[in-house]
């Protein structure tokens, strides 16, 4: 099979973009990525987006964005996997290139969330849960994660302060990222003083509602030489994707992301690597407890030890398991369907040696993108060419 490489990245800052519409954000990121790659046309477009129909009453994003970006009569579709839509769209683009069907593919992840009232945004996000058996009872996404957080603390003896360390690390790193929504370091006290959204989960345990778009250009290693130097190429070395029960209550285990384990194992096998070979991890820290569970489920920590990595300082840039090197969902921001593509862009920066918060000599990075309450997960391994 053909070796897929990323040759261009583009993005918008994450934030509350009152002046920009969904299409403006997507087109800006997409054109930036095409410019970075030095391509002026692509064979197809994959759009990662979770809930444009609910947030801005717009579906058919493939046509909308390809049309407004002037890409001509190419094939273009939206890929939806809840908050993992971005990660899934990247993987669909990679599959298209690997298969030989398409040579140069664009992927853009976009979400415009601030056009909705906050309580409606809370509702739309809960559409990723089970509508009949979860949302019906008035549960929010935050509340579902709070149920896991309470259990995690009880099962393994952690405190709210322990989990707050994930937020502190994310904000420390986000402060260096010019595209992050929050560029200000915080302390454990900041997290502890923030109000409960769903006890024991506080405002600063959660990622913000935001707008943003990120894009990548994927082609084959052979074709890449036509556009960029080797230093700009990043290989997509492995990828995996898996689902789990959509309804948290139907899960066999509440504190293990089975879908992340399966997805990670597939990705490691395809890349021919082990977790110890990975230099940094962009995991899905939509909530602090999810960062801990993610590290455990992908094999970076034993069960119950994810939060220990934070307590021991191992998740910092100079630690053994650097995570959220550009702020993660917590500080960079979480425009849901775009997040997986932001993670990909940030991993590419690290591997090209261009990150404002550089992990020294980074050769292999992992991105993990969660949809639903662990119900739809993508893991992608990126490697320096």
């Amino acid at each position: 099979m053909r070796k897929p490489v990323i040759i261009g990245v583009g993005l918008t800052p994450v934030g509350e973009h009152w002046r920009l519409a969904l299409r403006d954000l997507a087109v800006e990121a997409l054109l930036n990525a095409m410019e970075d790659a030095g391509v002026d046309k692509v064979d197809s477009l994959y759009v990662g987006n979770m809930a444009s129909g609910s947030f801005v009453e717009q579906e058919n994003l493939g046509a909308l964005i390809a049309d407004w970006a002037g890409l001509g009569n190419i094939p273009a579709v939206k890929v939806e996997a809840a908050c993992a839509s971005g990660g899934a769209a990247v993987q669909e683009g990679v599959k298209a290139v690997m298969s030989g069907l398409e040579d140069v593919v664009a992927v853009v992840g976009v979400e415009k969330m601030t056009d909705a009232w906050p309580s409606d945004a809370t509702r739309y996000l809960a559409y990723a849960a089970d509508a009949e058996w979860e949302l019906f009872h008035g549960v929010s996404f935050v509340a579902l994660n709070a149920l896991a957080m309470r259990l995690y603390m009880k099962e393994y003896g952690y405190t709210e302060e322990d989990l707050a360390l994930f937020a502190v690390n994310a904000h420390t790193n986000g402060a260096k990222n010019p595209y992050a929504m929050f560029k200000k370091p915080i302390t454990v006290e900041t997290v502890m003083k923030s109000p409960y959204v769903a006890d024991p989960l506080k405002l600063f345990d959660a990622s913000p509602i935001a707008d943003g778009a990120a894009a990548v250009i994927i082609t084959t290693e052979e074709k890449a030489k036509e556009f960029v130097d080797k230093a700009k190429m990043v290989e997509v070395a492995g990828m995996g994707r898996a689902i789990d029960t959509i309804n948290l209550a139907n899960r066999k285990e509440f504190l293990f992301l089975r879908a992340a384990k399966v997805a990670a194992e597939r990705a490691y096998k395809m890349a021919g690597i082990e977790v110890k070979d990975i230099d940094f991890f962009e995991v899905h820290d939509a909530f602090t407890v999810m960062a801990a569970l993610s590290l455990e489920s992908i094999g970076a920590a034993e069960r119950g030890k994810g939060a220990m990595l934070a307590k021991e300082g191992q998740i910092a840039i100079d630690g053994d398991y650097p995570i959220q090197t550009l702020g993660g969902l917590k500080a960079r921001g979480h425009p849901v369907g775009a997040t997986g593509v932001y993670q990909t862009v940030e991993a590419v920066w690290q591997l090209r040696g261009e990150a404002p918060n550089q992990v020294p000599d980074a050769e292999i990075g992992l991105t993990q993108n969660i949809g639903g309450t662990g119900s739809n997960i993508t893991v992608t391994i990126l490697r320096r060419v």
Partner: protein, 135 residues
């Protein structure tokens, strides 16, 4: 959200939501809630209805302070994962309880309560909630 088909949308779940009827696999005996077309344990499609007792214990809980739109009237309200006596876990609101009293393993029983009202001339939804048992 459009209104015309709302009634049918909720009516089709009356059995589960009013009476806590789930599924039991005729092949391996696995019981689950809600009833599924395929047994999650053995893959059999021979599933019959199963009446749960409504007794259970709290596995985990939270207090919803920023609810999704449509539930603002009730906030703050407790939501829990409840492990039913027969094994499956369900997610539901707790009712008739002081949030301070809720604890891991607390015994609860199912009751039927109003879950949500829609706007003027809209429908009213009822369903199961759980409360500490009346002695």
């Amino acid at each position: 959200m459009g209104r015309p088909m709302q009634v049918a949308r909720y009516w089709r779940h009356f059995k589960e939501k009013y009476r806590l009827i789930g599924g039991k696999c005729k092949s391996c005996g696995h019981v689950h809630f809600p009833k599924r077309p395929v047994c999650p344990e053995c893959g059999s499609q021979e599933i019959e209805e199963f009446q749960f007792s409504g007794k259970g214990k709290v596995v985990s809980w939270t207090i919803v302070r920023n609810p999704p739109s449509g539930y603002e009237y009730y906030k703050p309200y407790p939501i829990a994962l409840v492990e039913l006596e027969e094994g499956p876990v369900v997610l539901a609101q707790l009712t008739d309880v002081d949030p301070e009293e809720i604890d891991f393993g607390m015994e609860v029983e199912m009751v039927t309560r109003k879950v949500r009202e829609f706007e003027e001339d809209g429908i009213i939804l009822y369903g199961y909630k759980f409360r500490p048992p009346i002695k």
